[in-house]
């Protein structure tokens, strides 16, 4: 199966001051697939995601080396505006984080930042994004209500809808279900699975069953190193590296 690459890193190193959090990470994320990143906490999964939308720029004393190509374009090149990059690379965080404003304004936030003012267009974007995040039916009668009145699971789907509203090419999800109950988790997983028709998704998860259920590719990180990157089925049935095997059989981590 030949697939296009969405984002590719080569020899990626990341330092927080003197501490090296990523060690020569090279991998190619396939377009319109779901890639899961697993590994014990502190191994650099979140750091890797932050490199891809340059949220690392916002952290003091954080330094990135190596190359990151998004659709063949070096995102760390001098000419790249991180603001425009983040429009192309959306992010969903571990804790649902809707803004303290209405459901409508949350979704319209991104498009408005990028100059979309028309009421009609915004209405359309809001409906489309909420529908894509399987939240439209539940919220269409209360768009003007505060987003904080939603349940945790709904808030997380809202965060996804908000990220989708700016039409990113790549969606980064950092343990999006770890703060949710099993039912909400199931809904998010279904949603993510649906989204891969149109989006490339990288999802960090500490839940290996989740990786097996939804992802096409899996990367295993350990101490800042990408130990193994493979087709999810292969990785979980026949891991190539002893450390991967130890981790997925629960021998540590």
């Amino acid at each position: 199966m030949e697939t296009e690459t969405c984002v590719q890193t080569s020899a990626l190193n990341l330092y927080y001051s003197d501490f090296q959090a990523l060690r020569s990470v090279s991998l190619a994320i396939p377009r319109k697939h779901i890639t899961a990143l697993i590994g014990p906490s502190g191994c650099g999964k979140s750091s890797f995601l932050k490199v891809l939308n340059r949220m690392t720029d916002l952290i003091d004393h954080c330094r990135v080396e190596g190359q990151v190509l998004l659709a063949d374009e070096d995102i760390y090149a001098a000419a790249v505006d991180p603001i425009m990059l983040r429009k192309r690379v959306g992010m969903v965080f571990q804790k649902p984080n809707p803004f303290p404003m209405s459901i409508y304004d949350n979704i319209a936030y991104g498009p408005r930042l990028h100059g979309q003012k028309g009421k009609h267009q915004l209405d359309e974007i809001v409906e489309k994004s909420l529908a894509a995040a399987a939240l439209w039916e539940e919220t269409k009668d209360r768009l003007k209500k505060s987003a904080l009145s939603l349940s945790g699971g709904q808030q997380q789907r809202l965060s996804i809808a908000r990220a989708l509203a700016v039409e990113p090419e790549l969606l980064l999800m950092d343990e999006p279900t770890s703060a949710l109950d099993p039912i909400s988790t199931g809904k998010i997983e279904e949603l993510v699975f649906e989204l891969k028709r149109s989006y490339t998704i990288i999802i960090v998860t500490h839940n290996m069953q989740q990786a097996v259920r939804i992802s096409d590719m899996t990367g295993f990180f350990l101490l800042g190193e990408l130990v193994e990157f493979a087709n999810t089925n292969n990785m979980f049935t026949a891991p190539q590296d002893k450390r991967t095997e130890d981790y997925i059989t629960g021998r540590f981590g």
Binding site: M55, G90, F93, N97
Partner: protein
Amino acid sequence: MASRLRKWQTEYLGRTLVTAFGLFVVVLTLGILGFLGYKGSATFIDYGHSLTEFLISSKWSPGEAGQSGSIGSAVFIIGSLEVSSLALLLATPLSLAMAIFIAEVAPQRLSTTLRSVLEIFVGIPSVVYGWIGLAVLVPFIADLFHLNFGFSVLSAALVLALMICPTITSVATDSLAATPNEYREASYALGSTRWQMIWHVKLRAAIPGILTGVVLGLARAFGEALAVAMVIGQSNRFASSLLAPTNTLTAVITANMGNTTTGSEYNDVLWSMAALLLAISLLFILLIRVISRRGQAS
């Protein structure tokens, strides 16, 4: 026996003391309220003035020594309102700008220093502000606008604005700093600039806190007597412009409470003004409560 005494000491003594002091504070507050109500009502009961005259008329010649005159206090009520709202209008944008600078823009060390400086400014006694106003601002305004005297609504509003700026800034800074970091990340991740993040998310999330600061500032400005009395000119007429003198409730009370005899109409109407001030302050406090409750609810 010893252990029972011990238990009594640790358990009941503390509780009894705290309850007693608590009750004392409640009684004291109610006492003040009752006393002000009682003293303030004499104008209307003993001297037969109407509340409308007190609030709406500007005819001011209260009687001394058993005599009765006019007690229209509209000039002072309007004076208080215009001076404090103008002060608020001047102080709020400035305070917000400073709060944003301290909470969002300044590097960590500068921000910490500025916060301590602010606290010092909040604690400066108002007479100092008044004196600086009298010595520096009043002559400056006179010079600037070619007036005989610089005593004016503008001088009073500027002094008050300077005085309440630290209060508003301090509360607004805390409230900005207390907005969850997640909002910041979420906004950046959607491709916002730092300024867009501050303006659309941080400020919005901090609104209840900022409003609380503004109302606190307003309450302080409205209740301030000394600093205002020193620069307002104490003229018992409506101000024809911002550069004209007038008078305020607090300044009238401060200036006259010592020169009037207890039980005289003049003295009683000062008490009515004090009661009015209390009522308006209570209104401000109520406003703070409503705002902060709404902030928690959302």
